[in-house]
Amino acid sequence: MKVHISATGIHMEADTSTPETAVPSSVPQPKDDFQEELVIRPLHSGDIYASFQFRTLWETDFMRGNKVSHYRLFPKSLGQVISKFSVRELHISFTQGYWRTMQWGQPFLPSPPGAELWVWFQDSVTDVDGTWKELTNVLSGIFCASLNFIDSTNTVQPSASFKPLGIGNVTDHSFLRYATLPREIVCTENLTPWKKLLPCGSKAGLAVLLKSEKLFHSSFHSQAVHIRPVCQDWQCKTTSWELRQTLNVVFDLHTPGQGKREWSLFKMFSRTLTEACPLASSSKIYIDITDNPQGEQFEVSPATPLLSQAMVLGDRRTFSVYDLTQQITFGTVRSLNLLIRWKSRDMLRPLLHGERYVAGYGLQTGEIHTLMYNNHPYRSFPVLLLDSVPWYLRLYIHTLTVASKGKDNKPSYIHYQPSKDRVRPHLLEMLVQLPPNSVTEVTVQFERALLKWTEYTPDPNHGFYVGSSVISSLVPSIVAMDTNSTREQPLFSSFFPCKEESSYFVRVYTEPLLVNLPTPDFSMPYNVICLTCTVVAVGYGSLYNLLTRSFQIDEPSPGLAKRIANIIRKMRGVPPL
């Protein structure tokens, strides 16, 4: 690249309002704020759950008429997306692996395997489908993912399951689009652009721990971006935009042969912490020590005197807090390397979880079974089940049955949108009451469709993915939940807004399904052409023969005895018979 030195500038009369100063009093209060947080929870299975959350709050209005936008902490690329596509809320997640609710409990932020994207548009958008298509293309460029494969055949408009999480009480679900790509593989190329959105990048703060070679060597990895407008204060006088970047990872350190069950920041991430991001107003590490009040299960070193309690997922949890903005946290060695040593283990069952599988044999029909478990001993609660099934599995909705404890359980609300071939998928949403301590089974039969030969994926014998079902519910809480969303609280406990004290919101994703479709032999078109041509040619050949040959009566050929006799006569010089 060739550069030129411009020696001249245009002389401007100095504007007296912006003198070159170092006086802090003239500095305007920044309207944006950045927080970072890491929660570490030792799981009962012996694994370690680490959840990073980075939150950027910006008091601005993307929908203003003028196009000039000046970004400080908020990433420019996402800001441009919000204002260009008039986005009200955007939630995108990339997940590798399946969250095992039965072994690990509830995650702070649930996400289905593969990629998930759901967007609420502003009601000023006229062509929602066109905007959605363009938006997915732009996002696939930003996140280096195959989101451009989202089209009308895998997009649905859920009527009840996905309500806006920010302010604004929108009920018209024509501005909502939801799509999953269960086949999407998440890797380093998705992590790098995600890290670039952070103000400090991966240069300082908690993000230095995010090294891809360790993060992807884990049982579960999920990274997400959530954008929504939120209230700044209790009365909601001022609103601001919240960008929440989350990364959840479960490390499986309980490998046999290692003997000692010991865990440290360095072992997990191959890095230790030396400083907080200087732009962050708060930078904290929380370690969940609720199940370990006297240190009988594991011990944490270095020990911290700071303890904090937070209401999360209907439970009051106790955390050890390490504040990275305090120099004392790093001690004399100027680096923080948390260490946990395990002593024993036990198990706790989550109140709600779901499972799904395909039953049946052969390549013509099958049955989808969805199991929802309510493990609460005496309370029943309603759940919303959302199923989005691709058009090539033709659901027979009359075979839909919902049964709990062997009895028919009639859903109180069903929203079903049938599929159209090659245009849109099936959408099934229903509200089901789960009796206490029960398993509710939803079954529906389907028939497999034949695809056109260009519609098959590159590896069709692997099977076709069907995205996870989504179970959303307000689960009865053991302790009183905090309904004030603007109060200072750890980031991990403040994502889903809490409307009432007696329950909390949980979203559970089931496994994605892998279904085999009848797969043809892909050299078939050529074979068909060859076969047809040959048949036509044979038929034509005999017809041609019949038409063009001239027929005449031929004398029957002499018999074998006569021919031998003739040969002998010839040898004797006698005229033949």
């Binding site: 411009s6 997306v81 400090c200 052409i529 038409l547 001239s550």
Partner: protein, 562 residues
């Protein structure tokens, strides 16, 4: 024997009719059903465009002030005069410049305006009297004794579309109208070349069509500096703070853009749409390590390492998500505490006073040192307000360069008015519009002709109707743009040329042209061989047999005759 002869004839007839059916019905049917869809393209018009005769017409009004012509001469002065100038650029491209010069004497109001004490005031009051349309010029010829211009200056070029021309001393006595006009003509032409278009500008604008002869290296570098013509540009200001731990930077970019950049962009609105944004990037490092110069106790970046600065920074800038227009990047780099002060050195190892450089068709970088604020007692991070007037002065100069607003060096004897608050004089805008229209026309014709060539060469690309539509609309817009240039309507010409370029690009980059669902001819034939071979062999054989029999029969007849 007779029956068998009849039978043989019937067989021959059957073979012939089958061959006829196959050739007359089967082959065309097969051909039609396996053909790709190709919409009609205006090929002949495109071929006409490949041979471009571009004519640029400029209107000039020459106004004689009191004391420059006598009443008798005034009657003899022709009303209009047309001058043509032809250039052949290469075998396919020819240029013709037409100057239409109208002569008249000044009105009383204009005389009053010319009586103002300074040239700048005269310029302003002449502008309020009448506004000349885009692309035209008014030259006021003022007497030699006029005090509007300093002694050694002959021409004053104002901020609008007017120029003041002082009549030469040798023209005072004993002159005829012809002599006067002959004296004025070269000077008016000189004014025109400064204020509307010059041959070098126009040939530079044609660079997409015509390979420039490797002549003047400097002028090629000049023409490569500016961005290519585009219907829109994104301007991004980035503040690079590699060390947020030692300084917290505050820049009032919103106010600065309003004050310094927006007036220029408003003025440039007819040329292109602009969108502005800014961002702050933390921990963004330069790609090179600056060298410590112990003599001045400062860090230096010398000119040959500047090229390596941009690439690592660019990875952080991020591409524009919202549009595909070209991006102009302006970076303000505040060096970290351990590497400051930082100065840029030019080729001669001298410090660059503005401490900035630009990269052609990319943007500009300015280094802003804040080491004066690190006092020993200061608590880190130090809060620093950036002086935006200083920064924007540099960025505005770079923006003008990158957009192709050339501050052409004035010929001797020319006095230019300083550009006003908008940062752009009217005639500078005209100059830009002339070269942008020509550039757009050149680019669009190249795109359309190469697309037509490509479609012609690859015979089995599907041409959909929408592509044909885009191509036709591009061709129509191009013809209109050329016609408007010829008529001298600069504004319309630019508008049409922009439409042409957009339509041609849309046609050229249409995804349906890349679609893989077409078969090359050899594969098509290979697939149908199992049908063709068994069908054609008997037909051919029986035809051969018929021919040989006919020949034998003729020979027999010949023999009988003999």
């Amino acid at each position: 024997m007779a029956t068998s002869e009849v039978e043989r004839r019937r067989g021959q007839l059957a073979a012939l009719s089958i061959a006829a059916v196959v050739i007359m019905v089967g082959v065309p049917l097969w051909w039609r059903t396996t053909e790709t869809y190709r919409a009609w393209l205006p090929v002949s018009q495109i071929n006409e465009l490949a041979n471009m005769q571009l004519q640029l017409s400029a209107d000039v009004e020459v106004v004689f002030a009191r004391g420059t012509v006598t009443p008798e001469q005034q009657k003899k002065v022709p009303l209009t005069q047309t001058q043509d100038e032809e250039h052949t650029v290469d075998e396919n491209t020819a240029l013709r410049y037409r100057y239409e010069i109208r002569y008249r004497t000044a009105t009383i109001m204009e005389e009053d305006a010319l009586d103002q004490p300074t040239a700048a005031e005269a310029d302003l009051s002449l502008h309020t009297l009448s506004e000349s349309p885009c692309g035209s010029l008014v030259v006021y010829v003022i007497p030699e004794s006029s005090s509007l211009l300093p002694e050694d200056m002959d021409v004053y070029i104002g901020q609008r579309r007017t120029a003041l021309l002082r009549i030469g001393a040798q023209m005072r006595v004993g002159r005829t109208v012809e002599q006067l006009l002959a004296h004025l003509e070269p000077r008016i032409k000189q004014v025109l070349q400064v204020m509307s278009f010059s041959h070098t500008d126009i040939t530079a604008a044609l660079s997409d069509r015509v390979r420039l002869s490797p002549g003047n290296k400097e002028s090629i570098a000049d023409s490569m500096r500016a961005f290519k013509s585009s219907p829109g540009y994104e301007i991004t200001f980035s503040l690079l703070n590699p060390d947020p731990k030692s300084h917290r930077l505050h820049w009032d970019i919103e106010g600065a853009v309003q004050t310094y950049i927006q007036p220029l962009l408003t003025k440039l609105a007819p040329v292109a749409n602009f969108s502005l944004d800014s961002q702050t990037l933390y921990y963004a490092m330069l790609g090179v390590n600056p060298r410590f110069d112990s003599s001045s106790s400062a860090y230096t970046l010398n000119s040959d390492s500047l090229a390596h600065v941009i690439n690592p920074v660019e990875a952080r800038l991020g591409s524009n998500a919202a549009s595909s227009n070209p991006v102009l990047n302006f970076l303000l780099y505040v060096p970290d505490a351990h590497h400051s002060p930082l100065y840029i050195h030019d080729n001669k190892k001298q410090e660059v006073p503005s401490n900035a450089f630009h990269s052609p068709r990319w943007g500009g970088i300015m280094v802003y040192n804040v080491n004066g604020f690190y006092r020993p007692e200061a608590v880190l991070p130090v809060d620093i307000n950036i002086n935006m007037a200083k920064v924007m002065g540099v960025f505005l100069a770079q923006l003008r360069l990158l957009l192709g607003v050339q501050s052409s060096t004035a010929p001797p004897g020319f006095l230019m008015a300083p550009c006003g608050s908008t940062g752009l004089a009217d005639w500078e805008l005209d100059r830009l519009m002339w070269s942008r229209s020509v550039e757009n026309v050149a680019t669009a014709t190249t795109t359309i002709t190469s697309l037509a060539q490509l479609l012609d060469q690859i015979g089995n690309i599907v041409i959909n109707d929408n592509i044909a539509e885009q191509v036709s609309s591009a061709v129509t817009s191009l013809q209109l743009a050329v016609a408007e240039l010829e008529a001298g309507n600069l504004g319309f010409a630019l508008q049409y040329s922009k439409e042409a370029i957009m339509a041609s690009e849309r046609a050229f980059f249409d995804p349906s042209l890349l679609h893989l669902l077409y078969f090359p001819d050899d594969q098509k034939f290979a697939i149908y061989i199992p049908l063709f071979l068994p069908m054609c062999v008997p037909i051919l054989l029986s035809l051969l047999k018929i021919v040989s029999e006919a020949r034998q029969k003729r020979r027999e007849k010949q023999a009988k005759k003999d």
